[in-house]
Every structure is written in C-alpha cells, then in structure tokens.
C-alpha cells in the first residue's frame, strides 16, 4: 500500500457531497480528517482561518484545493481526507471552480514529505480531477491513488 493510500483512514473519503460555499467544503474535508482520527474539530477552523487571512493559495491546480493549517495540538496524526463535490464552489482563486478538496494535516514539518511527494505525482496529472470525479465508489478512488 502506498503512503498516499494509507494517509486516507476510515471515514476520510466523502464522495459527491454538497457544499454551499468554500467554507462548507473545507469543513466537510475537516470532518473527514476528524472521522479518521487525524485531527480534532478545531483543525477545520484553523484551515478556514488560514484561507481567510492569507487567501486561497491552497487551491493548487485547476479544480483542486488542498487546504491545510500549521501543525498544532489539533493534529493527532498526519493524514489526508478527500471530498468530491456534486457542484463546484469558488474559493476566489485563479484555479476556480473547485471540484475536489484534499485536506492535509501534518504532525510536524518533516514526516509527511514522502506522502506529499506521492500526492504531487498524482495531482500534477491534468486528468487527475476528472478521474476522481468519475469514481462512483471509495474502492475506485483507492485504486486511483494506490
């Protein structure tokens, strides 16, 4: 199993979700991190606060956001969650509209680097977002990120 696949614990993948705006989308992704035991509820607030303060620089590719906040006590384990959106939302980024949200939680500044390297390998493929959206089940998503 790849580090990337392992980063998505039980309950961390939420498909075809409805969010009214980007804050709700980030909150859903925060719920995925919480469900899989990576973070407490507060981490979603920290991700939203980071975007409100510094802008949507976590929207790193067309249609793809990777919200995150700094490592603090709300992070219990390094991991990721995924939300695919039934209807895209705008973050105010040049990469809008966003259709998939990968939240990232890291315990410190080092241990997730290999994980991010694997993620970068997938996310740099221009077809990645469409491939994710065409997966109707979590099992298919897991095959894609394997």
């Amino acid at each position: 199993m790849s580090l990337l696949e392992k980063a998505f614990g039980k309950g961390s993948i939420l498909l075809n979700q409805t969010a009214a705006d980007w804050q709700q989308a980030v909150r859903l992704a925060g719920r995925g991190l919480e469900a899989s035991g990576c973070t407490t509820t507060q981490y979603a607030d920290a991700m939203i606060a980071t975007i409100l303060e510094l802008g949507p620089y976590s929207v790193i590719a067309p249609g793809l956001a990777m919200p995150h906040a700094r490592p603090d006590e709300s992070v219990l384990h390094t991991g990721m969650s995924l939300v695919t959106l039934a209807k895209p939302v705008d973050f105010g980024s040049t990469n809008d509209p966003v259709r998939v949200v990968f939240a990232l939680a890291a315990r410190d500044h080092d241990k997730h680097l290999e994980l991010l390297s694997e993620f970068a390998g997938k996310a740099s493929d221009p077809d990645f977002v469409n491939s994710l959206l065409s997966c109707p089940t979590e099992a298919q998503i897991r095959t894609l990120i394997h």
Binding site: G55, Y57, H109, H112
Partner: protein, 89 residues
Amino acid sequence: MKIIAVCGAGIGTSVLLKMNAEKVLRSLNLDATVEAADLETARASRDAQILLTTPELVEKLQGLPSEVIAIEHVFDLGEIGDKLSAALL
C-alpha cells in the same frame, strides 16, 4: 545559493513548490538548495536569494533582501522554469 518556498503554514503548498522547483533546477542544471517554510520563518531568514511563493502571499514578503517570485500554478513546471531562469540566468 538558497531558495525558500513559502506558504502560510510551511507544510503543504510550499512543499509542493519546493519539490517542483527542485525538478526544474535539476533540468536547468542550476545548483541551489530549496527549503520550504512558513511566512514567519521566511521573513526572519536573510540568506535566501529567492523567495518562491503564490500571488496571494507576495505582499506579505515585501521589504526583505530576497527577490520574491510568484508562481500562479504550482504544478506548471514551465512557469516555474521560466521565472527561475529569468531571475538566475
């Protein structure tokens, strides 16, 4: 030569920028170390020739001795290559 890739938390966007900048530097045969850092660390550092970041954060990095380069698309190696070459060559 030192380059710092910067984002607010120093764990996500900056790390992806660092990885892609390293790829580009290798292909251009340029010798530089790239570190990922949060805004505060980057602001406190005085020894980087270049700060690599996203357009949202350029304003927060003004007044430092380093040149600030904004990358619109973190995975666009062409854009990173063009902007780094313009600054370094």
